[in-house]
């Protein structure tokens, strides 16, 4: 070996090796940019929900506490908003019962995936609103359809827009904390053409079954239950004993 | 599990309380090369002092300098340390 490269760091004088330094610098820059583009570009579609964090608006309408707390809006043509609290907490059960079937006014931030709307209610902003133009009580579809569905249990708040992506394994712990905190659980079902359908999960009698669902969150599962709708919300009155991992 | 976290937190807290006086005063008594250490040096060793505080505290009390490294050649050397001259 005629050439014996031996490098001594404290002795190296980069000024004399400008060309190799330039090559190293630009080479690593190009490589890093290409890797960044490739690895970012191949990510799975994260979902398209929005969360208007920090934008607080006033909403008026009829509050319904069962089977999940929601508001039938007065302004936007009877649009339905699920109600949740900030952070990883569901809307207070006591507060929902207190205002059940009352016309209320509340403030909060919008969460919306284009089909389902949700409001993160600003604490203490809810008040009764007496007056004209009352919203009629929406009816539950009487005859339910019995279904067996395959999908993933997520928390509705993150999935509808607070976190994109708000599904799958990396989000599992967060979904568990959210569902444990009272946020309505939701079954995400992928149809054969790739579209997603959402079913809010409640017990056979409309009771919350959040604690029972915790061990099945973010895994492929199959659930049997009765499908019903109320004010455009899709609900599965699920039998917790029917849940199976796939 | 939460008790363990509490214990770790307390270890860290004591470590922080120990580390500041140690880098200011104690470090020079266990390592002569640290006696003129710069401020940057003292900041850089802070996290490690929080981590290893019981060991460093013991050395500070005994003013024990760094020991010689353990290796087969050093341990197996014939005779006592010392130069035969140059």
């Amino acid at each position: 070996m005629s050439e014996d490269p031996f490098f001594i760091g404290w002795e190296a004088s980069p000024e004399r090796q400008t060309s190799s330094w330039r090559i190293s610098l630009w080479g690593s820059l190009v490589l890093c940019v290409m890797l960044g583009l490739l690895l970012a570009g191949l990510q799975t579609n994260p979902g398209k929900g929005i969360f208007a964090f920090g934008e607080i608006h006033r909403y008026r309408g009829l509050l319904i506490s069962d089977p999940v707390p929601f508001l039938v809006s007065k302004e936007s043509g009877g649009h339905v908003y699920l109600l949740v609290n900030p952070l990883k907490y569901g809307f207070s059960v006591d507060l929902a019962r207190e205002h059940h079937l009352q016309q209320v006014s509340l403030q909060g931030s919008l969460i919306d995936d284009g089909r389902n709307g949700m409001i993160e209610v600003f604490p203490g902003s809810i008040s009764n609103e007496l007056g004209s133009g009352e919203v009629p009580r929406p009816a539950l579809s009487s005859a339910g359809t019995h279904l067996q569905l395959r999908g993933e249990i997520v928390d509705s708040k993150c999935h509808l827009g607070v976190m994109n992506p708000g599904r799958f394994k990396p989000h599992r712990a967060c979904a568990i904390q959210c569902i444990a905190g009272g946020i309505p659980p939701m079954l995400v079902v992928q149809t054969s053409n790739g579209a997603l359908r959402h079913y809010l999960l409640v017990g056979p009698k409309g009771e919350t079954i959040n604690q029972t669902l915790l061990e099945f969150v973010a895994e492929p599962v199959s659930i049997r239950g009765t499908y019903r709708t109320i004010a455009g919300l899709h609900l599965l009155y699920a039998d917790p004993n029917s849940i199976e991992r796939l | 599990m939460s008790e363990l976290l509490l214990l770790l937190g307390m270890y860290g807290l004591v470590g922080i309380l120990f580390a500041i006086p140690f880098v200011l005063l104690g470090v020079r008594s266990i390592d002569p090369a640290a006696s003129q250490g710069t401020v940057g040096f003292k900041i850089l060793i802070l996290p490690g002092c929080v981590l290893f505080w019981p060991w460093l505290l013991a050395r500070w009390i005994r003013r024990k300098p760094p020991s010689e490294e353990w290796s087969a050649h050093r341990q197996g050397a014939s005779g006592k340390a010392g130069r035969k001259g140059e």
Partner: protein, 353 residues
């Protein structure tokens, strides 16, 4: 090496090194976050940042792990090794940022202590529910121990063998991070490129380590021992290349046998006092055997660093007999002067004492 500690012993090379590293990381993050938010405008910024920072840390860890074997296989990689600890500390800072964002995003905001939540919430035993965040947290803890002890103060105070053992835990952290990635984000992403790249990364790290170990296997054979004299036959005199040491195992550890200044042969412990670098792979430069890792220097005859430095390594008595280099199997205490053996050029080497 420094007589008195400072934060970083800056030199021109380290500055260039850090410039390239920092600009590479910034370029990666900008392109990752830029492309991510362009292609998926709805993606949460915190998740995009968490992923970008996490991926950059994971890539940097691979680079850190392959530098060692690469430099062993081809000396032209040695400059990358020289300032590797800055890469290590940067790796910890990136991993820490990733961990903070992930904990804030996924674990803060419920009744449970977020750290506790990392360890308990996603615990499960099935493939789809194997915990992954706990693996990441433990790896981060290891990286913290390593980053916080990266200064030479810790090397000197823990002593190199202990320091090295502590820093070998990077392989444990690597294993934990592979589990963190495989049981985590790979369970969610559908592109086959991600698992493919992770597989390639594991192959590169494992393959290069095996290859460099296999190439270096000759060095780790013990030479023949003559019980009567207590000396080991290391090699033929004419196989020594001037200024390039030869490694051999003596007394369970490597020594460096060096021919220098024409006809002198000396032998010192092949273990550098700084990070226990491989002195047998060094060179004789300006009167000293110089370590290939960080340029620590020792005079071959007394194993002592030139003033003002204070490092000392054990020396070995050497003699030349019948064209063979013999090294005494028992070392002299660190810094002991030994008379170099002299090669007799006329007769091709003979007994010299």
């Amino acid at each position: 090496m420094a007589v008195s500690y400072q934060a970083v012993g800056w030199n021109a090379f380290k500055k260039r090194y850090d410039t390239i590293m920092a600009s590479g990381i910034v370029a990666f993050l900008v392109s990752f976050v830029g492309a991510g938010s362009f292609l998926h405008p709805e993606m949460s910024l915190e998740i995009l940042l968490m992923r970008g920072i996490g991926v950059s840390a994971f890539l940097l860890l691979h680079l850190i792990l392959v530098i060692g074997p690469l430099a062993r296989l081809d000396r032209r990689w040695l400059p990358l090794l020289y300032n590797r600890r800055h890469m290590g500390v940067t790796l910890f800072l990136l991993a820490f940022a990733h961990g903070v964002i992930a904990t804030l995003t996924y674990h803060v905001g419920s009744d449970m202590n977020p750290i506790l939540s990392v360890f308990t919430t996603d615990a499960g035993a099935r493939m789809t529910a194997v915990p992954f965040q706990a693996f990441g947290f433990l790896a981060l803890a290891i990286l913290f121990v390593m980053a916080s002890t990266s200064h030479d103060f810790w090397l000197a105070n823990l002593t190199a063998p202990l320091w090295k053992t502590l820093h070998m835990s990077v392989y444990l952290a690597y294993g934990l991070l592979i589990a963190h990635v495989v049981f985590g984000v790979l369970q969610a992403e559908r592109s086959p490129v991600y698992p493919l790249l992770v597989g390639l990364g594991i192959l590169a790290v494992a393959g290069l380590h095996l290859l460099s170990g296999w190439r270096g296997r000759d060095l780790d054979r013990s030479p023949a021992f003559d019980e009567k004299s207590g000396y080991l036959a290391i090699c033929r005199v004419d196989s020594l290349v001037e200024n390039q040491p030869l490694g051999a195992i003596v007394n369970g550890e490597r020594v460096a046998v060096l021919r220098y200044e024409g006809d002198k042969v000396s032998c010192v412990s092949g273990v550098c006092q700084h990070q226990n670098g491989p002195l047998a792979e060094g060179r004789f430069v300006s009167g000293c055997l110089t370590c290939p890792w960080h340029g620590y220097q020792y005079r071959p005859a007394d194993g002592t660093s030139p003033a003002p430095f204070t490092e000392r390594i054990p020396t070995f008595d050497v003699r030349i007999e019948a064209g063979m280099v013999w090294v005494r199997s028992t070392s002299n205490p660190a810094g002991t002067y030994t008379v170099p053996a002299a090669i007799d050029h006329v007769r091709g080497g003979r007994l010299n004492e």
